[in-house]
Symmetry: C2
Subunit: 213 residues, 2 copies
DNA sequence: CCGCATCCCATGTGATACTG
DNA sequence: CAGTATCACATGGGATGCGG
């Protein structure tokens, strides 16, 4: 059984019993990006103790949120359909928490999966639909992401490749996403460093990915 | 400071730092119904230890989610605008958890605030808009609720009063809301007991409040 | 009496070490 | 690589105390 119960009978309480334990929703967040092996999850959650990761994986399985799947000799964890229904909730949490994001503390880490979800959170499909298909390569701290926008579709994966615009940015990119910092200024101030391609495309990026602060 | 941090820099993590601690979202849930005094919160969360309630209230304040407000000699806690932005998330959690709600265990309690939020979760405004304004009095376990639906507007408050339909129900009402149990059968089987008014109105109720299972 | 604070103990968490 | 085992410690749970 998952987390200790609250002694109440209602949907919110039930949900918290299933995914309200510490670390649980961060595991779900990473699995929303794709199936992951135990070690990959551990790498994406650097500060989770291995025993807690093992416990959560067990609980989430019993809750019907994730499942162990054998994939050609290795085990991966993946969301069940019921677990995947958490996507709008996780994205909503991300949008809500984004507004309270200050500057990163020294100890804080940026992981590829977290950034992928952040991009999905900020993605404005209806805006993107009216823009030309564009591919970006973004180096966000230690995360290298290949971002392809095609109409209202978004595809984010790890790695680099041939793209229309490649750029690197630190945490200051938050202010670009929130609209506090104009694309031009982001480049001029060095918050965003254009590696390849025309810098003007950063404007399109900022139009495509936006979250109010 | 709120809960211990996870060492990551992203919106989901930030959100969980602010409202991810045990009991925190249940406090938010109850405050979504209206401002509450300390004792009212404690009554609505029967199993929360007083020290934990006090700690959470302090943390949620520092997180900017709630605020203490003096109301004519007494202190009430209420959501800040930022805290109120959690409403869709809490309702979403409720809808998600509803699907995993089995039958209540012996120890589990039903509180008025939790039921109020459950009704908001299940409310279908667009359906209600096409139905005549209706008032219901529902006795759900120990919770007595006065439910007024007027077009796309829903108002739920405690107490009884003059209504079109008054009924009492046990936890079996879950199956009415999920559509597993037809209104007629609910009455015939005794799951719902009509106290006043025409039983046919229970059909309208079931149309207005619905959550897929 | 309401709004907490204190105390004590059970349990969950965190860091590290260890094993199949 | 994929977990288990161990142990110190922080937090949660329950009862009780107490000042305004």
């Amino acid at each position: 059984m998952a987390g200790r119960d609250y002694g109440q009978y209602d949907g919110v309480t039930r949900a918290l019993e299933l995914v309200g334990e510490r670390w649980a929703l961060l595991i779900v967040r990473d699995l929303l990006v794709g199936p992951r092996r135990y070690g990959e999850l551990a790498a994406g959650l650097p500060r989770i103790p291995s025993n807690v990761l093992a416990a959560r994986l067990k609980e989430l399985q019993e809750a019907g949120v994730i499942r162990r799947a054998p994939r050609s000799r290795v085990i991966v964890y993946e969301l069940t359909p019921y677990g995947r229904e958490l996507e709008p909730l996780v994205l909503g949490l991300g949008a809500w928490g984004f507004k309270a994001l200050g500057d990163p503390r020294e100890e804080q880490v940026v992981t590829p999966d977290a950034m992928t979800i952040a991009l999905r959170t900020a993605f404005r499909a209806q805006i993107a639909a009216s823009l030309p298909a564009t591919a970006y390569a973004a180096r966000l701290g230690p995360a290298e992401l290949l971002i392809r926008v095609d109409g209202p579709e978004l595809d984010v994966r790890r790695g680099d490749g041939p793209v229309d615009l490649a750029f690197a940015a630190g945490p200051g990119i938050r202010r670009l996403i929130s609209g506090e910092l104009a694309p031009r200024l982001a480049i001029e101030s060095g918050v965003v460093e254009v590696l390849r391609g025309p810098g003007e495309l950063l404007g399109r990026f900022a139009d495509t990915f936006h979250l109010a602060a």
